[in-house]
């Protein structure tokens, strides 16, 4: 027993060694700028033309100004547009991941489909938005198709309507990211021990049962990963609505996301306000993520311990 304990102590230095490069790079390239951001959130600090105003300490004034502005409205917009994209994204991705990894489901050209679904993500968001713009313009092909099908009598002005714009943002996000999610989930399913599937098949599980009883529980860490990163991506939603609405979040600021609001302050070089927006955003995101992570991973630690318990006898057997 003593020997094992000794081993673990000597291994600890490898833990530090292996995580060192990450932390060094982080400290240099992100931490210093980050501290600056937080620091300036307590100052009046902006540029008027080329003149620099400040930094003058103002305490929590920037934060107060933030909540007088429509911060809540932009948070709402962000969440709505994220959900509009995320729900179809996770459903389709789960479905595709299940199909692609199901040995019993014979689909010809599986390889082709797998490759194709991620491809919209290869197009630059700005180019993608340009194409969307042309497709959904007032007399663009989508409108003329809908009219010729008799579904509408006059062009629907997508980008002048609240739900038209939000819907398009959701659709673009879905198209850009469902392939990404599918690949992640597929990679996770492939990591599952095939013998589990074989056992399930022998036990007479239907594909549906296999999916819900074997696949889903096994890929839970990756599912949590997808949920959290997508949530963070959603909170940080920027380029798609920014380009689609030309940075204005039209109509009536209903497609203005939190980062677009942040960007407005960065654009006018208002480092004080931008810092305050960042800090609040950071706090919201951190709370959300930690809550999600720890509720979903609550029993994770106990599992790890069980695993290690299983390890011990074998180790002792070898040592002995």
């Amino acid at each position: 027993m003593k020997k094992i304990k000794g081993n673990e102590v000597s291994y600890a230095k490898y833990g530090y060694l292996f995580i060192a490069p990450f932390f060094i790079a982080f400290l240099i390239f992100q931490f210093i700028p980050l501290i600056q951001t937080i620091y300036y959130s307590f100052f009046e600090y902006y540029r008027s033309g080329l003149k620099i105003i400040g930094p003058n300490p103002v305490g929590f004034d920037n934060y107060a100004a933030l909540f007088e502005a429509d911060f809540g409205k932009y948070a709402g917009n962000t969440i709505i547009m994220w959900i509009l994209g995320f729900i179809p994204q996770i459903l389709i991705s789960l479905l595709l991941a299940a199909w692609f990894t199901d040995i019993r489901l014979k689909i010809k050209g599986k390889q082709f489909f797998k490759v194709v679904i991620y491809m919209p993500n290869l197009i630059m968001a700005s180019a993608f938005a340009m194409l969307f713009f042309a497709l959904f313009s007032d007399n663009g092909p989508v409108n003329s198709t809908l009219i010729s099908m008799g579904l509408i009598s006059k062009p629907f002005r997508f980008l002048s309507s609240v739900w038209g714009t939000r819907g398009l943002v959701g659709l673009m996000n879905f198209l850009m990211w469902f392939g990404n999610t599918t690949i992640l989930l597929m990679a996770a399913v492939m990591g599952i021990n095939p013998s589990l599937f074989e056992a399930a098949e022998l036990d007479g599980c239907s594909p549906r049962q296999t999916f819900f009883r074997v696949t889903l529980p096994m890929i839970r860490p990756i599912l949590i990963y997808v949920l959290i990163t997508s949530m963070i991506g959603g909170l940080q939603m920027f380029d798609v609505p920014q380009i689609l609405t030309n940075g204005k979040g039209t109509p009536d600021r209903t497609s203005m996301t939190l980062i677009m609001y942040l960007n407005n302050h960065l654009f006018s070089k208002n480092y004080g306000m931008a810092g305050a927006v960042s800090v609040i955003l950071f706090i919201i995101a951190a709370i959300l993520c930690l809550v999600v992570y720890f509720t979903l991973n609550a029993d994770d630690d106990s599992k790890r311990i069980r695993k290690r318990d299983r390890l011990k006898p074998r180790k002792e057997a070898v040592n002995g």
Binding site: Y14, A25, L122, A127, P141, S195, I232, R314
Partner: protein, 280 residues
Amino acid sequence: MDKKPSHARTVIAYIVLILLTFLCLFFFYILIVNATRSHPQIQKGFSFIPGHSLMKNLRSVLNDANIPVMSGIKNSLIVSSLSAILATYFSALTAYGLYAYDFKLKKPAFVFIMLILVMPTQVSAMGFINLITKMGMLNTLYPLFLPSIAAPAVFYFMYSYMQSSLPLELVEAARIDGSSEFHTFNRVVIPIMKPALAVQAIFAFVTSWNNYFIPALVISDNSKKTLPILIAALRSADFLKFDMGKVYMLITIAIVPIIIVYIALSKYIVAGVALGGVKE
């Protein structure tokens, strides 16, 4: 009895897949169509039928001395490849460090990385540029890939993947065989992680390839510009030279290398299935 539902499932699967494939490829089609049309044609509105300005657009992109396409592709390849390699390797290393070892700062380190994961990148951009300027790295390619060493999202994926697919027994077994820790990571862990590495390498590569904001602030020299900066340069051309046909052509050119890299890496994801057999 058993065959019938499976058959229906196959049909549904085909319908959904063909629909999605259409949606995905459709954008490439109209992108290429636009690259074959002249500026006034594009300005006039949308078309599904290719124009006949393909060669004209291609020539005008390649002959513009202010738009060095070839060096743009080269710079983008350097930056994106290094970003992908650094991000995946060091994130896997970090994830392994936290997954396989027990040490005092393990929990705080993990929570810390999770916290920085949620920080929007736009936030620290200006501070980043100030820092780069002071370090004398402005107008060099280094600041475009070195920060990839610390990629919290990639780390988190690697960590999650290890949780579901890397049994510590394998590590133990390697130790018993006398393998050094670093050797174990490179020879035992990395091969098991291949699908995860390939997946994240693709994502990191694509993100870096299409990144405009930070590279545009860092790079001023024409010979060091990456493709998105060159595309933006075409878009801010003056009225005499503004040519959407040329813009779409350069976007199309910029997509070709990334498709090649993507298809090459996607093979590794599939190959990863074969490695599944090493479990327990």
